[in-house]
């Protein structure tokens, strides 16, 4: 534990200056690391953290700590979204050519659910005292139930996943609270690049990660911009992690596709 806590001030210094956030990034090793043994895991983990920090964008020769590159790497980090809510980013490295990033949004809070239900029922009761029709109360219950089901199935996104597979494509999955999953797959031949873009959103200027698609007609044009993690809206530090990782694969892909 001591080693982990000593990492935090170094990491905080190495990061770009950002507005103070309530949550610092904390890393936990997964079962794969725990199986190696507590004493050994920490120096490996520290080296891994260092190598990721020092890594420039792109680069085929990525220095991996010895013996770590053959295992499936999994790491979970805590970030915050643009409104200050808590997000968790889980990175899974299946193989040198396949990586998955999973951003989990905060769950539906009991407080907001109770507030909405109480408002609807109070309004229905008010109407009932005016109209003396008991159908209004049953209708209010019905509406609340349907509204909640509809919200969980169509609106509330629990998790957003980005799966990038070298020479195959990029897949984005949104999992809703009711278990529904909506997937989009973009073939690698259509992907021009993955960039972090700035945008004006309501009264803020935010960063978002997006995939640029090639224009079939114009070789240097862009036909479409597909934003990623649209409902989670993580902040720049989370986006940079994902961006660096993806750029390694994209650079490798470009290098191999350029040489026939």
């Amino acid at each position: 534990m001591n080693n982990r806590q000593s990492q935090d001030p170094r990491r905080a210094q190495a990061r770009k200056p950002k507005p103070a956030r309530p949550f610092h990034g904390c890393r936990r090793a997964t079962a794969a690391a725990r199986s190696v043994g507590r004493g050994v895991a920490n120096p490996f983990l520290r080296k891994w953290v260092q190598s990721r920090r020092e890594d420039a964008a792109g680069g085929l020769e990525r220095r991996r700590p010895g013996g770590w590159g053959d295992r499936i790497m999994e790491a979970e980090q805590s970030f915050s979204d643009i409104c200050g809510g808590r997000l968790a980013l889980q990175c899974r490295y299946y193989s040198p050519s396949c990586r998955e990033f999973c951003v989990s949004c905060p769950r539906l809070s009991l407080r907001s659910l109770t507030a909405v239900t109480c408002t609807v029922w109070l309004a229905a009761y008010g109407l009932f005292t005016l109209c003396e029709n008991s159908m209004i109360l049953s209708a209010a219950i019905f509406i609340t139930l349907l509204g909640l089901l509809g919200y969980l199935h169509f609106v509330k996104i629990d998790q957003e996943t980005l799966l990038i597979i070298d020479s195959l494509g990029i897949q984005m999955t949104s999992s809703y609270a009711s278990g529904k999953e909506s997937t989009t797959f973009i073939e690698m031949g259509k992907v021009k690049d993955l960039v972090i873009n700035e945008a004006i959103y309501m009264q803020k200027v935010i960063y978002y990660l997006c995939i640029l698609l090639k224009d079939p007609v114009e070789p240097h044009g862009i036909s479409q911009v597909v934003p990623v993690f649209q409902s989670a809206k993580p902040r720049l530090d989370c986006l940079i992690e994902v961006y660096r990782s993806c750029q390694e694969i994209l650079a490798h892909q470009k290098a191999t596709s350029a040489s026939p």
């Binding site: 997937t183 989009t184 797959f185």
Partner: protein, 537 residues
Amino acid sequence: MVLKAFFPTCCASADSGLLVGRWVPEQSSAVVLAVVHFPFIPIQVKELLAQVQQASRVGVAVLGTWCHRRQESEESLGHFLEGLGAIFSHEPWLQLCRERGSKFWSCKATHRQVPASLGAPGQDQVMLIFYDQRKVLLSQLHPPAALPDHQAGDATASAGGLAAVFDTVARSEVLFRSDQFDEGPVRLSHWQSEGVEASILVELAKQASGPICLLLACLLSLISAASTSRKANMLVSVFLDVALGLALLSWLHGKDRIGQLADALVPVADHVAEELQHLLQWLMGAPAGLKMNRALDQVLGRFFLYHIHLWISYIHLMSPFIERILWHLGLSACLGLTVALSILSDIIALLTFHIYCFYVYGARLYCMKICGLSSLWRLFRGKKWNVLRQRVDSCSYDLDQLFIGTLLFTILVFLLPTTALYYLVFTLLRLLVVTVQGLIHLLVDLVNSLPLYSLGLRLCRPYRLAAGVKFRVLEHEAGRPLRLLMQINPLPYSRVVHTYRLPSCGCHPKHSWGSLCRKLFFGELIYPWRQRGDKQD
């Protein structure tokens, strides 16, 4: 590039043999279609592949070997399989191997002609992608909504990527005709090998359904020359229409509902006429506190009242025949619900004919007034409308012309509120009737153009309509090749409706809101069902 091997899930449990499929060099992917089992004669295998290639125009070839080690002592099989690489030469040569009871596979792809100076000893990294052959065979890939200007040229270009996999499997149906259980010279394993049912009844039903399906297909082909999905959608829509119509018919003709309807019709028409009379009395007084020009008001009011009186007499004249007419019209519901709804719309139009007449009178009067006012307003300013040049020109008027013009202008201006109010009231009534008719037309359009067959297909067999694919990473062990499962991503319902929607009769009003408001302001008559390009009067 990483070599991608598309392997059908049905062959994962097949015995050892040769891999047969298509190699796509641009994406460095090998699409495995079937496994050829031992014993086989290489010449016959090559003949079969040549036949398949000729029939399906797909470049089918032997891609490599498949080794399924069921016992521990099958080392010799491995050597034998390696020797086959010399008989069927293919670049690169794929070697897939699976241990008994193990989930993890080993894959090797060797290039014989690549010089060793590239560093790697002629081996590639291999990625295994499993796919369900039957679903990929039956599914139809719908590319994402293309930009409108790149449609024609990109039809061939989109055969890249995963569309090539779907295309390969769909066109290789010839290969799937013979099976490992058939008596042919070559024994193949593919998705058909999974299909043998255990129950003889099910097998018999499958054999019997063949001719029935052929019959249905013949019937469908007789109907129209459109594509299969269009035909099927139209057929299902017509069936639903007729079914709903028959249901309506049975409901109407039971319990003497037609009689009740006919008895209620005349009082309703009377009631509407009475309400109109009250409205006109109200307009002839001081409507909403506005002061009208008494003389004009009385003239218009009496004129419209007489018209309503004529209408009521006409309805009373018709009343003995209404029940019989309704009964016969009700029979038309057996042709379909849409026919019944269209007749209902026409009946509404007939019953509200007097409102249409009032609207026309009011609009014409108002239009004349507006024309007069605009022309005299130009006179005020010393201008004139040049019909030849279609523009406003200046003009010097004589004094008496100016005097009469000003007089007429004043009269028209003071009579304007009365005419405008009558026009407003009757236009609103007319728009109400048009809205009701429009709703009925929308319903008819909906029943006609909704692609129910495609929606049903999307509900029951979602893999038939594919928007794309999705991948799932299967259990992975370090050092082993990456294994992915490719599943079909079904088309969302909104896109199904959008893509397969049947062409509607196209009788939507072609006015935009702006032109509609303009016409209302200037008193021009509105014809909601007239198409653009029809003869204007």
